[in-house]
Structures are given as C-alpha cells and as structure tokens.
Symmetry: C2
Subunit: 222 residues, 2 copies
Amino acid sequence: MAGMQATNTAGYDAPIGLTADPVVFTLLDGRLCVLLARRLEEPQRGLFALPGGFVGSSEAPEQTAERKLREKTGVGSVHLEQLRTYADPVRDPRGWLPTIAYMALVRPETLPEERPVDRDASWHPLDALPELALDHAVIVDDGLWRLHARVADKVWFVRKALALLTEPFTLRQAQQLYEALRGEEVDAANFRRDVRATGLLEDTGALRSEGPGRPGRLYRRA
Amino acid sequence: MAGMQATNTAGYDAPIGLTADPVVFTLLDGRLCVLLARRLEEPQRGLFALPGGFVGSSEAPEQTAERKLREKTGVGSVHLEQLRTYADPVRDPRGWLPTIAYMALVRPETLPEERPVDRDASWHPLDALPELALDHAVIVDDGLWRLHARVADKVWFVRKALALLTEPFTLRQAQQLYEALRGEEVDAANFRRDVRATGLLEDTGALRSEGPGRPGRLYRRA
DNA sequence: TCAAAAGTGTTCCTGGTACACCCATGG
DNA sequence: CCATGGGTGTACCAGGAACACTTTTGA
C-alpha cells in the first residue's frame, strides 16, 4: 500500500485524502492528560491515536476535527486552535496523507460516560502515554508546547483555561490548574495578584472551605 | 469546475491536490516587500499571486515551496517557516485545494536579474499591493503578523534578520532594518544596547562613514 | 493551640523606555 | 563652528519573583 496516491483531472499529484487530528487536553486528578482512542482500522489497528479522521470534501477541517471528536469520543463542541500541518509523504503507510493538527483544552466531564464502544476513548496522563500510531507522539508534543505558550499568557489562562473549573471556584483551584498546565509551581501570593489584575474575575462574595485552613473566596469568570 | 474533487481507493474524499505557498519578505529601499509572480494559468490568469505551487507526491511541502520559488522567481535556497494551512473547501475555484503557507525573509538580491519571463516576479511594497489571487491577501497578512512576532525577539532578529545586510554593517543599518520590519521607530541608544547584549555580534574594529556625522563601527554576525 | 490555607503588603530584580550628554566627522 | 549621527550613561517605570506577615478555619 505504501506510496499510494491519487491524480486529479488536471494531472497533478494529489494526496489520497486529508485528515484533521485534534490534540485535546484536560486536567484529571491534577494531571495533564490527552484524549486518545484506539484505531479500529488498519494500519496499526488497536494502537492508540488522536481522535481525528478524514476531512470531507465540503467541510472545513476544523469542523472535521470537531465531528471526529464527537464520533469517536463523544466530546462535544470545543474551541480548536490550529497547530500545524504534517505532510511528510511517508508519515502514513497508506500513502500520501497530510494531517492538520488542532489543539483544545476541555473539562474532563466533556468525555461522556456513554461513548462509542471498542474505541477505548479515554484520558491518558502525559507522563504515561502508550505507544501512539503514526507520528501522533510528535503531534502531541507540539500541542503541549503550544499549550505551555498559551498558558504563559495570564489573560488567555483566565479566559480559556479557567473554563475547566466549575463555577464558582477558589483561587487555589485556579492555581492548581495553572501549575498543572505549566508543569511548575508558582508563588500563591503572586498568582492571586496577577490573576485578579486581569479584571476578568468576579468575586461572588461567598466562601468555601476545602479541608483544613481558612476558607477561600469564590470567584466566577466575568 | 467548482467543487471538483477526487476519491481515493479507500473511498475517502480527497483534495484535488496540495499546494505550498511561500510568503517571502525583503527590505527594498527601506520598504518592506513581498515577492509575487503573475499566474500563467487559469483561474485568475494574470493576477499576482504567491509564488507557490503543487506539492509532488513524494516531496515534503517545504521542498515544494523552495522549488516553486526557484522555478517561478529564481530565488534560491531559503529557510522557510511553516505559517499555517488554509483548507477551506471553496478557497480555490478549481476545487478542494488546501495550501500550506510558509514564511521567509531574504535579501533583495536573492531575486536574480535573469529570471523566468512572463511571470513578472518582483517585489511589491506591502503598502501598495496589487489585487491578489484567491485568498493570498489573507495569507500575506498572516505572514506579516508572524514576521512582526519574530522580529520582536531580539535574538531572532540578530540571527535571522541581520542576514539581510551585507557584512560588515553599522548598527544604524541594523536599526533601519529593524524599524522597517517592525513598522515603528525605536530609540537608537536602547537598540544598540539590546542588540549588543545578545552577544551575537562581532566588532570588526573598522569604521565606516555614511554621509555626515561621526562614522559608525562595523559589525559582523558572530 | 497548632497546622494549614487564605489573603495582604513589601522588597528586590530585571527588562524596557526616555532622555541627557559627550564624541567625531563633513560641510 | 555647527548640524548630524555615533556612542555612553542614567533615571524611571512596569512586571515578575521571593518572602514576611496577618487572618481564619479544621482538627
């Protein structure tokens, strides 16, 4: 099968298709995870892979990524950011098959209980990834890199990442999320100052106690 | 012709091809310019467009961008950075035809005197662009955005952008380049401090006088 | 009453901007 | 000698990192 390709009417070489692969992150039990699903088709059937698939001919690739995500994992509408395109002619044994990679960050509950069987769609901690199909390990890596870059921007963090928390939330929850996404610890005092300085948080006035210690104020995204 | 597509052996929809479009910038007479060439084929024959073309089936898209650049404009090997992929199914009237865009920054002499006829391959100042084919105006815009982001990084500027100057050069030349790329003026004292702080410049010891005023020191990239 | 967490304030450092000021050259 | 640009130094400001210190809870 290797080296297969198509030729269009104008006589140009054409890829055998175009795929879109979403790299979807979440935070589960304090660990950063990616969403993976088993391949049901050859090649590499049974291996874990990004839950992407073929772009239809009258479809925007972002829509494909979203649709495949829904079909393979049950995850609903999310905001996808284009990562980059992988088009090495030998990246897929089926033939010339470029893929456009996307990145998203969602809450873990977005992955529903009732979901397609046989696919084992599930969250995998980044520090314990299984073997991945094709070049998907590289794509996940690039996605992680992009995620780190985004999170470094406090405004992006408050607007996008804090959507992972159920409102209202304490600043401690926000900080734990931040630290998990960044992969490093930060000073609590500075974190609270920075995040409140964005002006994007709304103080609900209520308090909540989590374990020992003084209860924390509850916030909502403005 | 609209809506044309291909179907591969596995029954999936396939694009009618894949193109690679390089957005090549240079500085000419103090103005930031892009490299454009006229289309010799339908659709939109005669319109200016990015000097890209179809990716061959056993070719990495970066190679295609480089090859097309050479064929259409005579511009030799350059370092291309992937920008993003445009895959809207209706972006090209010929049918479903995604393109991967690349960005580069080269010296104006890279465009040779003897070059393919009929194509009018030439530099066009960004503030006076002709009508562009397809969605190429958007692509140029995204390229410019990326260029600004890159130049903001002093180290990138010294390593990549300063290659546009013929060595040795004065810091004033470097500053004028910087200002043209950024599109805004900067303080000369601060610029020289920042750029020397990178440690990537080598003082040749020689001086050069350009017009009135004290002659400037000549530098080389280390 | 003690540990743990919330919350406030201060210091320090760094990177960038603005700008004052001297030096060297051509006209 | 003066306009012009090269070159040095300094003051200032903003954002971030480190940390001291107070407050409020559960055990």
